[in-house]
Symmetry: C2
Subunit: 379 residues, 2 copies
Amino acid sequence: MNSPNVAPVVGMVGAGQLARMTQQAAIALGIELRVLANSPDESAARVITQTVLGDYRDLDDLRAFAAGCDAVTFDHEHVPGEHIRALTEAGVVVHPGADALIYAQDKAVMRGRLTDIGVPCPAWAPVDSLSDVEGFAKENGWPVVLKAVRGGYDGRGVWVVGSPDAAAEVLKNGVELLAEAFVPFERELAVLVARSPHGQGVSYPVVETVQEDSICVEVIAPAPDLDAEDAAQAQKIALTIANELGVTGLLAVEMFQTKTGLMVNELAMRPHNSGHWTIEGARTSQFEQHLRAVLNLPLGSPTMTAPVVVMANLLGGPDPDIFRRYEHVLAHDPGIKLHFYGKEVRPGRKIGHVTALGTDLAEVRARAQHAVTCLRGPV
Amino acid sequence: MNSPNVAPVVGMVGAGQLARMTQQAAIALGIELRVLANSPDESAARVITQTVLGDYRDLDDLRAFAAGCDAVTFDHEHVPGEHIRALTEAGVVVHPGADALIYAQDKAVMRGRLTDIGVPCPAWAPVDSLSDVEGFAKENGWPVVLKAVRGGYDGRGVWVVGSPDAAAEVLKNGVELLAEAFVPFERELAVLVARSPHGQGVSYPVVETVQEDSICVEVIAPAPDLDAEDAAQAQKIALTIANELGVTGLLAVEMFQTKTGLMVNELAMRPHNSGHWTIEGARTSQFEQHLRAVLNLPLGSPTMTAPVVVMANLLGGPDPDIFRRYEHVLAHDPGIKLHFYGKEVRPGRKIGHVTALGTDLAEVRARAQHAVTCLRGPV
């Protein structure tokens, strides 16, 4: 920060859009952000001069990448725990650590721990045979939600099965599975919190997330008509998890709101799609917050900058020429904020997002929807 | 934007902090920003993968840099007009063009044109001898403001002289000079406007700028207690200048507020220090606005995001270890926004800025002042 070569250096393993947006925050803070990328074409690699090419599954690549970093963190959860432990033993500062990250990597370990600490979860059990699934269904009813214990995201690795036959099909994949009771939720909520190594915690307002085909398409901040007690409980659950699990950096907690209360669905320990609205919508963006947390700097204010903020994901459509439609969207709404990830357009792929801010929920949602509908183009 | 290799490409000549902050906006918009830098250590070169090293005074370097750019623009005003004309003749899209930029490059040409179009300016005259200066002083009184016609910035190239002897000293420099009447202003204001090639214009709110030793140290948005008529007139002057001079991109107009009305002091045709507050303080930052304007995209909303926004420049002090003081500043004020330019710390050098947002002017100013005072360290 003083002479430029002593600026703090943060290494982020992975070079997707999360690392890309982290770079915007790093530029302001004067932090040197390095990424470990698979290819120079990746979203973040396009905008980060300190891009290192390598394999996050290879300990030597990780060691070389970590050299000179004040802190190492992640834009995904796929780095093997034993590698993180090896880095830590070699003196590298890694946030979150392996003992925390395991709960975002292994859903069985996560469910076991959350149950132990009294966090409400759907009924669950590990299953490795059809009779296990049938036994679980006997107790909890069909449909049953089968989840890959490791490696799933954006709906991949999650199957809602309504019968033994459907369950048998999933079992054929040969991946380790967990069964969960199907929760008839009213809506989905998410809480994003940050926790720094010395234990400071901050919670963003509770948001509502809207999924289509298991992919998040819209995030509304704050969650509309959420009563203050539920909001406080949701934030308490998220902060409790962060503390109990020793999370450092960001923790996103996805929840179901049901007639009988809140239940935790999933955890992520990194900047999260449910927090993209914070770039314009909160005094401290989740990306800045994550950098501050992993460097053990004081955390920033999570206060909202407008009464209503809506983020809508931009999924690719069949026509890749988004820029042709860009002009219309900007002309239509001078206040809309566009975010493109520099990714090749493929149908259904998350290639960007838009954020609208204002005071009237219906109007703000309509603006965000208009923008992504136009940008996606004919379907 | 669609397949990443057809993202719009903007080339910015110069790699200072203005280009660096433009990169933050380019990342969001999915625009590929290239810079022409003197050295890989420059502020923007550190955070832009598409950095080209070269000399902005060399036409061949400029031609090579411009190849493949959808638009070329500038982070400073020092590119010779004949080079810009040569680029334009070769089919390069350059904003602002040479015919506009001359008014930001040559103060005599600027004063002549503004006088012609009826924009209020201080009394002025070209001077090239002591008798010229004495003649000017006879009519307008001492002190006289002598300005280098070309090449000055941040107070360099401006001398306030109270006597013939002092004027003689300045004349010894041998640079082409302009004399201006010393204006007993009440305060300094600035108006930032954007104009796109097809003529769309947008004005940000009028701000007050506070100078110390001819360097801007603080910007207050909106200018406190400015009556609506003066604000409207200031914006009208700036938009008129942008239109009359054919400016494309941003135009910053620095003005004096005097007992008898507004007078134009200086022009800049690029993102400007008086607009750094817009990063958090306006719906569209000046950096995003400039990119939109030079690509002939619809301009964004200049609406403020908070009632009061104060930007304070961070000047280097004798102790370069800013990062050590960073923690205190962030802990003291979780809502303060820090911006570091990745430059080596030297006493008096602009190395960053801070922005505070809120509702109470005195409180917001105090927060910004506290942050820069702490970060600068012992003086």
